[in-house]
């Protein structure tokens, strides 16, 4: 197939993953691990589809999905941030609660016809020779995923609130000493991340894999997103790159199915995880090494996690 269509397919299929992974990046930058991503995405996909097909309004569908994501995230934040319980525990429990809730509530709407997001080519740009096809012939959610990365970077590294957010994840005490309540920051960051995960869900059920069912087809994406955040070592650019890289792997997996009959294509679906572990090991070694060049080299594509990640803050 010609590269343009290939890349177009790639960016389209990676769109929800990018959104979810970036959302989680925001959350973790603020020092909170929201492990419930996989469930959130499914629940978002379900609400998005159901609301959209009941109200026949895609907009409402996406809004509902985002809101659902917020709600789940709020639970994580209340229990994991304010009640000081293990964020991993609550996130994990919610993963499964949300997944099954989605299947249960969505069952009556399973495999029904619902509205789909139409592609809207950008008037002039779409006619560009190569880039037109790759970038400007998609649905709005894909455009959103394009915008998400720069927006995230701008927010995190070029705005006051972004700085505050990173500060809260880095050292909550220091944040508090500077007159900012880290728990509030964390709460908001978690909500934001959850909302993006919810949107990602709707992106599946209304655009990428239209429709709802058991399975919907986006199962497991949440875990991938979590892995990508680490693989991209908490930098939006690297995380997004990781998401596209993952998409690439999957498409190649299909393309080469015949070339390597020995290797089932779906093996490529687990590729991000070994990579994630590898990244973590590298970062660890670079931390403990005396060799400054190696350390510097690793810093290029890997940085340590926020210092306060997963550590609840309580005022003395």
């Amino acid at each position: 197939m010609d590269p343009a269509t290939f890349l177009a397919a790639l960016v389209a299929m990676a769109a929800p993953l990018v959104l979810a992974a970036l959302g989680e990046t925001l959350t973790e930058k603020a020092g909170v691990v929201n492990l419930s991503l996989d469930g959130t995405i499914l629940l978002g996909a379900m609400t998005g589809f159901v609301v959209a097909s009941v109200t026949q309004s895609l907009l409402l569908g996406f809004l509902a999905a985002g809101l659902t994501g917020c709600l789940v995230a709020a639970l994580v934040a209340v229990i994991g941030v304010w009640l000081g319980q293990s964020q991993v525990a609550v996130g994990f429990a919610l993963t499964f609660l949300c997944r099954d809730l989605a299947y249960f509530l969505g069952n009556p709407y399973a495999r029904q016809q619902g509205p789909q997001l139409a592609t809207l080519p950008v008037p002039l740009l779409a006619d560009l020779p190569f880039f037109g096809t790759v970038f400007f012939t998609h649905s709005f959610i894909v455009y959103l995923s394009f915008l998400a990365t720069p927006c995230c970077i701008y927010f995190l590294y070029h705005t006051r609130h972004g700085l505050t957010l990173r500060a809260a994840g880095e050292n909550p005490e220091g944040c508090w000493a500077r007159g900012i309540d880290p728990n509030t920051v964390r709460f908001l960051a978690t909500l934001a991340g959850g909302a993006m995960a919810g949107l990602a869900g709707a992106a599946f059920s209304l655009a990428v894999k239209p429709g709802w069912g058991h399975p919907q087809g986006c199962e497991g994406i949440g875990w991938i997103a979590l892995a990508l955040v680490i693989f991209g070592s908490w930098h939006p650019l690297r995380v997004a790159a990781g998401a596209y890289f993952f998409g690439l792997l999957q498409l190649l997996g299909i393309a080469f199915q015949d070339s390597f009959p020995g290797i089932p294509g779906q093996i490529f679906q687990v590729a991000p995880f070994p990579l994630m572990i590898f990244t973590l090991i590298l970062i660890h070694l670079s931390r403990n090494t005396k060799n400054r060049y190696f350390a510097g080299f690793v810093r290029l594509f890997g940085s340590p996690p926020p210092r306060g990640l997963g550590r609840p803050y309580r005022r003395p």
Partner: protein, 496 residues
């Protein structure tokens, strides 16, 4: 300018502050001194709203103000340099400088940082990560940030622990300048010469209460008096024959952890010795003990225990016992009962029943009269009883006992009793090394005193050959006798 009216604070059952009052005047530097755990930091943190207070009021220019959170304090121009730097190591200098500011203007901030740094003679690369800075530089950065934030009342909590002479000069110059500009400064310090050279007034805290308040020039004697409990007249140290064979040998040991780390420590402790480590918190005693115990590998230099070079990693060998200062956090297993502690400490016992170790722990409870029963969990014990428990866990075959604040939180007679226990414990061929903020204790129990200052062994002498004043002076940094440590090592062996 700002006034604190009988502030009190308790952490759970620990009463950190009781009815403390003090005031800071514009254009003056106010010193706060006191032994470790006196409540200095807590008081300051309350003034910045970092810590909530249990009682008392804060007044600004005479009228009560509500000051419950740092943001309030910032509105009143109160800024604090915390004892343990509260900055963001992985963020850049510039970001640290900007964090928490109302406006976000990197360009502007960069310029301001450069300007201020120049004005105070500091040097910063705005884009370096803060974790690459030294403690001193991090403090300087914080200071500039506070000034930039328009702080009119500056609080500095032990700003000079672990920074170089030069940085100290720079810092003091800066402080004098700020004072001249009419800022009010609260300076927490353990180093009396700093107080002397900088402060106009000083308040002494002890056990969370104001022990004294003075104006400069200070009577050093009275100050020490107020800081530490009543000055003892020379007690005669216990007469224990100092054997010849070495128990612990340090040879040019260097580490850089802790507030001050340890610089080229060389010392030999021989059988029969009871060595008291004096010095302000974080001057190196704790690190010294951890290394001797084998819990912290030295970065350079050599350690031999009983003539054998230590293997790195877990130093757990059955002839050494270590009693850490923070009992619950480092020494005991909260949630586990006394019985379980004793089972773990003792040998044998593969399979356990409800009765296992019961007799043992009962005996220990009686011997060390711990106020608890075998099924009491460690965190339920009071501070003193936790210490008793730790003592009771020392195995019999132990030849070297290492202790941080062995009698912290013990009343007088149980302290004495504890020491009897310890001396009895110390086999003829063993030794005890302990750190204590309480000079009285050192003078009374140690056969040899080693004083640490900024990670260096500044004084090392038989107790008999020194006196209280020399030691307390050495503790605050002014030592006549900073001889080369190997010679000091020998001096430790002088028969008295």
């Amino acid at each position: 300018m700002i006034e604190l009216a009988n502030i009190s604070k308790n952490f759970g059952k620990v009463q950190a502050l009781q009815g403390v009052s003090l005031s800071a005047e514009a254009g003056s530097i106010h010193g706060i001194v006191g032994e470790n755990g006196a409540g200095k930091s807590t008081l300051m943190k309350i003034l910045t709203g970092f810590t909530s207070r249990s009682g008392g009021e804060i007044l600004c220019r005479g009228k009560k103000i509500s000051l419950d959170r740092p943001s309030d304090a910032m509105r009143f121009g109160i800024g604090m340099l915390y004892q343990e730097p509260l900055d963001f190591p992985q963020l850049s200098v510039l970001e640290n400088f900007m964090a928490g500011e109302a406006a976000f203007a990197p360009g502007q901030a960069r310029a301001d940082l450069a300007r201020l740094a120049a004005a105070f003679g500091f040097v910063f690369h705005p884009d370096n990560r803060v974790e690459t800075l030294t403690v001193g530089e991090r403090q300087q950065l914080e200071l500039l940030r506070l000034i930039h934030g328009g702080a009119r009342l500056l609080i500095l909590d032990e700003p000079t622990t672990g920074i170089s002479e030069r940085q100290q000069e720079q810092l003091f110059a800066a402080l004098r300048r700020l004072k001249a500009d009419g800022a009010a400064i609260l300076l927490v310090s353990h180093k009396l010469e700093e107080i002397d050279s900088l402060c106009d007034t000083v308040t002494v805290l002890r056990h969370g209460r104001v022990a004294a308040a003075m104006r400069c020039p200070f009577d050093r004697q009275a100050l020490l008096q107020a800081m530490f409990d009543s000055l003892p007249e020379r007690l005669s140290p216990p007469q224990t024959a100092t054997g010849k064979e070495p128990v612990v040998e340090f040879d040019r040991v260097v580490v850089t952890v802790g507030r001050a780390g340890l610089h080229e420590a060389t010392i030999t402790v021989r059988t029969g010795e009871v060595v008291g480590l004096a010095g302000m918190d974080g001057s190196g005693q704790a690190v010294f003990l951890k290394i001797a115990g084998g819990f912290l590998p030295p970065e350079s230099g050599q350690i031999r225990r009983f003539g054998r070079t230590l293997p790195n990693g877990c130093g757990c060998s059955r002839d050494v016992a270590f009693l850490p200062a923070d009992r619950l956090a480092e020494g005991l297993l909260p949630g586990m009962t006394l019985r379980e502690h004793h089972i773990l400490a003792a040998r044998g016992h593969i399979f356990l029943s409800a009765a296992t170790g019961l007799a043992g722990s009962r005996r220990a409870i009686d011997d060390f009269n711990i106020k608890g029963h075998p099924e009491t969990t460690a965190e339920e014990l009071s501070g003193g009883n936790q210490q008793r428990l730790l003592l009771s866990l020392i195995p019999d075959e132990v030849r070297l006992i290492l202790m941080e604040n062995p009698t912290r939180g013990l009343d007088v007679q149980s302290a004495d009793w504890t020491w009897q226990q310890l001396h009895r414990r110390k086999a003829e061929d063993g030794a005890i090394i302990f750190a204590s903020p309480d000079l009285e204790e050192i003078m009374a129990q140690a056969t040899r005193v080693v004083v640490f200052y900024d990670g260096r062994i500044i004084l090392d002498t038989p107790t008999a050959a020194t006196d209280y004043h020399e030691i307390s002076r050495a503790i605050t940094g002014e030592a006549g006798t900073t001889g080369p440590s190997d010679e000091v090592g020998r001096s430790g062996l002088l028969p008295d």
